[in-house]
């Protein structure tokens, strides 16, 4: 009896989770479906789930691939910014997190407190002076203007520091005895040890950079410099919306990050759970 009850309970749970999974996937499914329909259809009936084989085609995608918009230029800009940002952010933040966890030095606690302060204050507050600073540094409308201000990020620093708290410090002494320099220890011994943390943070930071909106919108000026989200949002205008490009373009914009996630999700979820927040 009890066994049976338990069985139906877990069946209920599975149904519940299928509903939530449906909620998660449903909007993406709807937009993918819409991307195969003419935009006039979307304007007349809105986003719906009707499968209408007679009107569905690849026309929206074909239009993007014809290259009449800057879509692939935006795509390329997004790739460049995401790759540069992620690589630099991981290296620099790992350095800082490593320095803060593995050494004892005078300013250690002060610096860590500053990291927490940066983490706790929304960047939007300093947007305007930062914008002025970028004008002064002649970084407006450049890739570096988008990347530099946020490349040393508090969350990865915090995360790497947490992750390293599980690594025994004896490693370092052993390496020192073997004649390895302080930086050699970091590069040759610690970086490989931190691989799972790098994987988790790589996805998180790449995702943030790929999807970043407000700051790139402020820094980037000309159409050929825009990133995907800014470019896509520029298709929505007060004079009419280019839904055909927007919808198909949105589907194509989700793809790379989804593929990366599906490839690395194991490491990602393990990394997040290993180094995330501990009691």
């Amino acid at each position: 009896m009890a066994q049976k009850q338990k069985g139906s309970l877990s069946a209920l749970l599975v149904v519940l989770f299928i509903l939530f999974a449906g909620f998660a996937l449903f909007p993406l499914f709807a937009v993918t479906l819409a991307s195969f329909k003419p935009s006039t259809e979307l304007l007349r009936y809105g986003l719906n789930l009707k499968l209408e084989w007679d009107i569905m085609s690849l026309k929206n995608y074909a239009f993007i691939f014809q290259g009449t918009t800057d879509y692939f230029q935006w795509y390329w800009n997004s790739i460049v910014i995401t790759v540069l940002f992620t690589v630099l952010c991981l290296i620099l933040s790992a350095m800082v997190g490593y320095g803060l966890e593995m050494y004892r030095f005078r300013l250690k606690n002060v610096i860590f407190t500053l990291v927490l302060v940066v983490m706790m204050i929304p960047v939007e507050i300093i947007m305007l002076p930062l914008y002025k600073l970028m004008i002064g540094m002649k970084l407006i409308n450049t890739v570096w203007g988008v990347i530099l201000p946020f490349v040393v990020a508090p969350i990865p620093i915090f995360f790497f520091r947490q992750y390293l708290s599980g690594v025994p410090k004896d490693f370092m002494d052993a390496a020192r005895v073997d004649g390895c320099s302080e930086y050699g220890i970091f590069v040759r011994i610690m970086m490989p040890l931190m691989a799972p943390a790098f994987a988790a943070m790589a996805i998180l930071q790449a995702m943030n950079s790929w999807n970043n909106f407000l700051w790139p919108m402020i820094v980037l000026r000309t159409n050929d410099m825009l990133t995907l989200p800014i470019g896509l949002s520029s298709l929505l205008t007060p004079y009419g919306n280019n839904y055909d490009v927007l919808i198909a373009g949105s589907v194509l914009a989700i793809l790379p990050i989804l593929v990366v996630f599906l490839f690395f999700q194991r490491y990602f979820i393990e990394g997040m759970t290993a180094g995330g927040v501990k009691g």
């Binding site: 350095m95 927490l116 960047v123 490349v151």
Partner: protein, 320 residues
């Protein structure tokens, strides 16, 4: 004082290195010493902090007392702050606070319960559900906002309206009305962050020693008792973390509203947020000093929240 330098200098001569490296210069020795190394490691943060954080924060404070026009800045005292007292900004604050509260109400208990349910080892497809529910977080707000804008569209055939149709109700202009507009914002937040918060809670659950539950079971505690007396208190650090990030995300929300209402102008400002107002004043209307004053108000909000939080919960992790 001179002694350590002396001994340091003597070490290499007394013990010649095996590898045939060229003699190290004083600079190189300084850089490679284990005393300097930690500072080299944290240097990127110090530089970035000084240039891209401390300096802008101070500038915001100064700018908020100025009128900033191209080429001319004049000191205007508290003028910007006086101008802040207006119904539009009041609405922006109200919206931001309401959005933050509603997201907290939805995005803490629900992920917690779901994580506990999904954490049961008997649950089939845990890994799959965990990953699938994370997928919305991968989509940009721009894409998500566009989708939700269409789903909550005013056309008869849009998803929400066809749902109403099923119940025999008239189509509705969801995004033209404050209540339903907010509903769209909250559903969007729930969609994007449910899986993320659930993941945080699942990681927290893995750190609870199973012995606690076994002991409770022996003492005759019911499942609900163990959930209430063990799971919830043990998850406190995760809850604090999720609570904190939700508050900051909530107070600085902008893009969601920007996308749902096609720019920074919702009807009657029903979707205007503090950052939306900052953006409107500082960048769209080029009134940087006034925008900076808006930023200071947001800063004060977060500082007050920080202090309250520090008082009640302490830091993320106490150590050293």
């Amino acid at each position: 004082m001179a002694t350590p330098v002396h001994t340091n200098a003597n070490v290499p001569t007394g013990q010649p290195p095996k590898t045939q490296r060229p003699a190290r210069s004083q600079w190189s020795r300084f850089i490679h010493s284990s005393r300097t190394a930690p500072y080299v490691f944290v240097l990127p943060f110090l530089l970035s902090f000084a240039l891209f954080f401390a300096y802008p924060v101070i500038s915001t404070v100064i700018m908020s007392f100025q009128e900033v026009l191209p080429g001319i800045t004049t000191y205007v005292g508290l003028e910007n702050y006086k101008d802040l007292i207006n119904p539009t900004f009041g609405k922006a604050i109200l919206n931001s606070v309401l959005y933050t509260l509603l997201t907290l109400v939805v995005l803490i208990p629900l992920p917690l319960v779901l994580a506990v349910l999904l954490n049961s080892p008997k649950m089939p497809g845990r890994g799959l559900f965990r990953s699938v529910m994370f997928i919305p977080a991968l989509t940009s707000v721009v894409v998500a906002g566009t989708i939700f804008r269409l789903m909550f569209g005013e056309l008869d055939g849009s998803l929400m309206n066809s749902l109403l149709g099923v119940f025999g109700l008239e189509p509705y202009k969801w995004l033209m009305n404050a209540n339903t507009g907010f509903l769209a914002l909250i559903v969007l937040a729930l969609w994007r962050w449910l899986g993320v918060n659930m993941l945080y809670y699942m990681s927290g659950l893995q750190n609870i020693p199973p012995e606690l539950y076994e002991a409770a079971q022996i003492d005759g505690a019911s499942r609900f008792d163990s959930f209430w007396r063990i799971t919830i208190p043990m998850l406190k650090p995760v809850t604090i973390y999720v609570f904190t990030i939700s508050i900051y995300a909530g107070l600085s929300m902008f893009t969601e509203s920007y996308m749902l209402w096609n720019g920074n102008n919702s009807p009657n400002d029903i979707g205007l947020t503090i950052v939306g107002y900052l953006y409107r004043q500082g960048l769209e209307q080029n009134s940087m000093g006034f925008g900076a004053a808006v930023g200071i108000v947001l800063l004060v909000f977060t500082l007050v929240l920080n202090l309250i939080q520090l008082k009640f919960f302490g830091m993320f992790r106490k150590e050293d």
